[in-house]
């Protein structure tokens, strides 16, 4: 009837996601809250999904839709790399997922950031918003929490940061977004991708960087 005691909303990734190019690689970051209405279905979600060895996707929007999309993308990229006899480029991954998203835009709610490293182009970040379209950027933010940190990232991004600078930048930005966005929260996951490989990091909820708010 009217207000059943179980969640009836589709699980959504309220979310703050971002990806940043630094000198030699990319750092991707995300919060970890999956909500179904006001119920937090998963407080330690992994929103940064592997689709190939050095290509990852940050997911925001419907959890089901984005998981299905990244599953397809992983399959298609795997098959494609057999044809190419080498790893596909990040650009290829971005355009492939855009095809899926744009063709089915009426049935999907998914905003994604595709980022990674490939031999020919080095590090790349591509933003794929709700209706489709592929936007290459040096830094990209997405999800409901991103609205609160546009000013922060625009003011603090620098080209050719070091890996550590970029990781700090991402953790700070996501932390600020979590502080203001009810749909974002939990812990901060980061994935750093470069020619040397992939590094995953975790910042627990009680160890979030203390920045802003007069601290």
């Amino acid at each position: 009837t009217g207000n059943p005691p179980y969640p009836t909303d589709d699980p959504a990734l309220g979310t703050t996601i971002m990806a940043v190019v630094y000198d030699g690689g990319v750092v991707m970051g995300a919060d970890s809250r999956t909500s179904a209405g006001s119920y937090i279905a998963n407080r330690a979600a992994d929103k940064i999904t592997l689709v190939h060895d050095s290509i990852f996707v940050c997911r925001s929007g419907s959890a089901a839709d984005t998981q299905a999309l990244t599953d397809y993308l992983k399959l298609y990229l795997g098959m494609h790399s057999l044809d190419l006899e080498e790893a596909p480029s990040v650009q290829t991954a971005a355009h492939l997922i855009n095809q899926l998203l744009y063709s089915n835009k009426n049935h999907l709610m998914a905003g994604m950031i595709v980022a990674g490293w490939d031999k020919r182009n080095g590090p790349s970040v591509f933003n794929i918003p709700l209706g489709g379209g592929v936007i290459p950027e040096l830094y990209s933010i997405g999800g409901s929490g991103s609205s609160y940190i546009y000013g922060y990232v625009d003011a603090n991004f620098k080209k050719n940061m070091t890996k550590e600078e970029a990781q700090t930048f991402v953790k700070n930005a996501v932390s600020l977004a979590i502080a203001r966005d009810g749909s974002s929260g939990g812990l901060i996951r980061t994935v750093t991708i470069s020619a040397d490989g992939v590094e995953r990091e975790l910042v627990l909820g009680d160890k979030l960087p203390k920045i802003g708010f007069g601290q």
Binding site: H80, D83, L84, Q91, T92, A94, N98, R120, V134
Partner: protein
């Protein structure tokens, strides 16, 4: 003249007792009756050329193209039945275009060649279809550099430094093997292709012919295009001179 299949040559779906598919072999004969087409892969590009035999003085010069652009970085030249080749050209263009739409970048040479080869091969698998009576030489300049592929009616697809198909292919291959392709530029290769085509052209059996040349190289900004008119004329002049020298030597 040639061996008769006697019953094993009716359909592409039948092997002969000695393991041959006659329909595919017959298709290859159609290719061998056509004017010679040559492809050379050199240091900075790929050059394609063809001996376009003129069957009638009423044909408009420059028409009945044998060289086609598939995508901005890819072109092909064919030998064999032109109507069959037209299908391959259209299919290549579709594949290249779909690749770009799906993956957002130029189709790599290997992928394009394999797709055309799969398509050609598929037509050797069913009794209701006949194999294509055309061989195709594809010149593609992708991110790995210039590459030359040859797709035959059987569906086989190989990567070459130099290749020839059609009437004078044996003689042309002999000439190609003498060249130092690794250290040649596309500009030099254009002249070499012209020379070879002029030298394998049979003045007795075939009358006039038109030379069609194209390249995709650094000088053309990695775009496939017919060779510029002045270079074409220069190449023809040098080819005729070389032929004259050979005749004088005799």
């Amino acid at each position: 003249m040639s061996s008769i299949g006697t019953g094993y040559d009716l359909f592409a779906t039948t092997f002969s007792p000695d393991g041959r598919v006659f329909q595919v072999e017959y298709a290859t004969k159609a290719v061998e009756n056509s004017g010679t087409a040559i492809g050379l892969r050199v240091k900075d590009g790929v050059v394609l050329g063809v001996e376009k035999l003129i069957l009638s003085k009423m044909l408009v010069e420059g028409s009945n193209r044998r060289i086609h652009t598939i995508d901005k970085h890819a072109g092909l030249v064919f030998a064999g039945l032109s109507a069959d080749a037209r299908q391959l050209v259209n299919r290549s263009r579709d594949e290249a275009s779909n690749y770009r739409t799906t993956y957002g970048s130029d189709v790599p040479a290997q992928v394009l060649a394999n797709r055309v080869a799969s398509f050609t091969h598929a037509h050797t698998l069913y009794w209701s279809l006949r194999p294509f009576g055309a061989s195709v030489l594809m010149g593609v300049y992708d991110a790995d550099g210039p590459q030359l592929y040859c797709v035959e009616p059987s569906g086989s697809c190989y990567n070459y430094f130099g290749c020839a198909v059609g009437k004078g292919k044996q003689a042309a291959k002999v000439e190609i093997e003498k060249l130092d392709l690794a250290n040649m530029t596309a500009r030099q290769a254009v002249v070499e292709v012209a020379k070879i085509i002029y030298s394998v052209h049979d003045e007795v059996k075939d009358k006039a012919f038109e030379l069609e040349l194209s390249w995709v190289c650094d000088e053309s900004n990695r775009r496939h295009q017919l060779v510029p008119k002045d270079l074409l004329q220069e190449a023809e002049k040098q080819a005729k001179e070389a032929l004259q020298e050979d005749m004088d030597d005799e």
